[in-house]
Assembly symmetry: C2
Homo-oligomer: 353 residues x 2
């Protein structure tokens, strides 16, 4: 079923439902609202592997005691242009929201700032956290350790690495911000899960099985592993992102990573990092955003290969989806909707529709 | 001819020769020594697309007036954790050396620092500039705008982007530092040039021609373009690196990039950026480097796919080559050696061997 024929739900209504569910599971109301807002925003922009699809799993983890519902998020180390946050095993969305605000504050004075997290948790799609800085005249780079290892080192069979995503947001002038959000694997594991929910096969090149053969059935995903982009280069990127977002912060990396799809209790000790660059430190921001606009237009208007209808900028398709979904509502696959309604019954809360 | 049967030259002797050539072309002796040392170091670690192979081109540009031989490198903007350097069209190696030192100084107090450059020039392989910080307990990330556009946007035919490399250096304890050095294309253009020098065909997947067909003959490189890693992801990375290293600094990007292989006169206005993270800001550096050692060993010892002899860490092969070349000398292809001897005659300097 294409997105055009799926039932749709308004973003606010979706956020309200998520907040009810998280609140019922044990999160304080104000925290539930923040997390729910970010989760619904993920769906709004079409990051459908990281939005409401994760709600049942989050609820399970909260109810199992795998999340601290009243965390004391604290600064462990701090200098003019950096901080290390301990998330006290709170919801990752809360920890990362705090990290972004702190990095923006520090960047405003120091020009550039880096904030790392540990004892955090899964925080949704990477691009969520570069959006706010990019709306306020700042470039942001985000790195995270994924919450399950699906990637072996290049040439290997043992899944010691995750898809460790990178997101970068760069403000433009009248054009949409350039927003890159990519797993260091050909596909993120969340996209594999989304394919499974939709009952669609995996494209060749996303995963291989332990014999090195293409794995196309997403319901068999746990019998294989993801492939890195550009072979050894993607492996290198995944490792570096893990070192920066995990090891540097004293967060889990390599063998220490908990598979949060299977284990709902053990603290994940998730690590993330955000780098914020204040444009105004480099000269008049208008000169920069005008140059970005020009570059975007040059790329978009450039000569296309035969059969290519349009050249897209990173983040432009999410931007369009966000606009369409804000107007028409967020499309929800039938299987997901059914699962959410069961969850509502289980939690004794008002259902989504 | 494999590297094992090529004539070899000691690193110091190579650096001396490069310094003579650059000095004869017009660089002050002290500057010539710095540039020559970095160029020879590139060859030492096996970055053979960016070492002495570039000497004839650098000499041509210096003699044509395309390089300022007495640049006033200056800080244009500065805050606690950032600086923007104007290289005054000096040799890129000089500008970047200054940028690295400044970033390290600032990171020592602010914890993290970012230094961008403009009016710089080609500075050799990206990994050269993350090496020094990684030897002094600092993580470094380097981004640069390549000096010729060989990459169209994804789906496009117009080469508006360069191979825009990324390098990251992460200190370890007793293991070699983890050093990633990658073009955002499947192959760097320097590797294409090295293939041409060696008379070897290009592997399929490196380049396509303007009909979208594989281009395998490196002497026809200017009839085609490079392919990005991971399709649209590599295109996104190349663009982001260009925005961070170029546009942010007021350096050339997109249509403004000068092809320094064809144009030896126009200032390239090359942009680079270096981010340095002081490990000691995040806690005891020994805890970090011990964790890196453990991770490196876990990856190296992990189960291999059939037929794979060894799992390598990023930078490990360069590290081994550096050790071997330091002992046995740097292998130089016959065609390159001949070219360097002609250059010596042309410049009236003592030849290499």
């Amino acid at each position: 079923m294409s997105a055009d024929t799926l039932p749709r739900v308004g973003c606010d209504r979706l956020a309200d439902f998520i907040a009810r569910a998280l609140g019922s599971a044990g999160l304080p109301a104000a925290d539930a609202r923040i997390v729910a807002g970010l989760m619904a925003e993920a769906d709004l922009q079409g990051s459908d592997g990281h939005g409401v699809i994760r709600l049942p799993q989050y609820v399970k983890r909260i109810r199992a005691g795998g999340i601290n519902t009243s965390p004391a998020v604290r600064v462990v180390h701090e200098r003019a242009a950096m901080a290390l946050l301990d998330g006290d095993n709170g919801m990752g969305h809360l920890v990362m929201s705090r990290a972004v605000d702190l990095a923006m504050d520090k960047a405003r004075s120091a020009g550039v700032a880096w904030v790392g997290t540990r004892a955090s948790n899964h925080a949704g799609p990477a691009s969520l956290y570069v959006r706010k800085p990019s709306q306020q005249g700042m470039v942001a780079l985000y790195f995270a350790v994924g919450n399950a290892n699906h990637l072996p080192p290049w040439g290997g069979m043992e899944m010691l690495l995750s898809t460790n995503p990178i997101a970068v947001g760069v403000p433009a002038g009248s054009e949409p911000a350039v927003v890159l959000d990519m797993a260091t694997t050909v596909a993120a594991y969340g996209k594999v899960k989304a394919k499974a929910k939709r009952g669609e096969p995996l494209p060749e090149g996303w995963m291989i099985d332990r014999q090195g053969k293409p794995l196309l059935d997403p319901t068999r995903a746990d019998e294989g592993f993801l492939l890195p982009i550009g072979g050894h280069k993607g492996y290198g990127l995944a490792l570096i992102v893990g070192l920066l977002a995990g090891t540097l912060n004293g967060a889990a990396m390599g063998r220490e990573v908990i598979d949060f799809n299977r284990d709902h209790v053990t603290p994940t000790n998730t690590g993330q990092a955000i780098l914020v660059i204040d444009l105004s430190a480099f000269g008049p921001p208008e000169a920069f955003t005008a140059a970005v606009d020009q570059l975007v237009r040059d790329l978009r208007a450039s000569e296309r290969l035969p059969g290519v209808e349009r050249i897209w900028l990173p983040g432009e398709q999410s931007h369009e989806r966000r606009r369409r979904n804000a107007e028409a509502g967020i499309p929800l696959p039938a299987a997901l909707l059914t699962e959410l309604q069961s969850l509502a019954i289980e939690l004794g809360i008002e259902p989504l529709a």
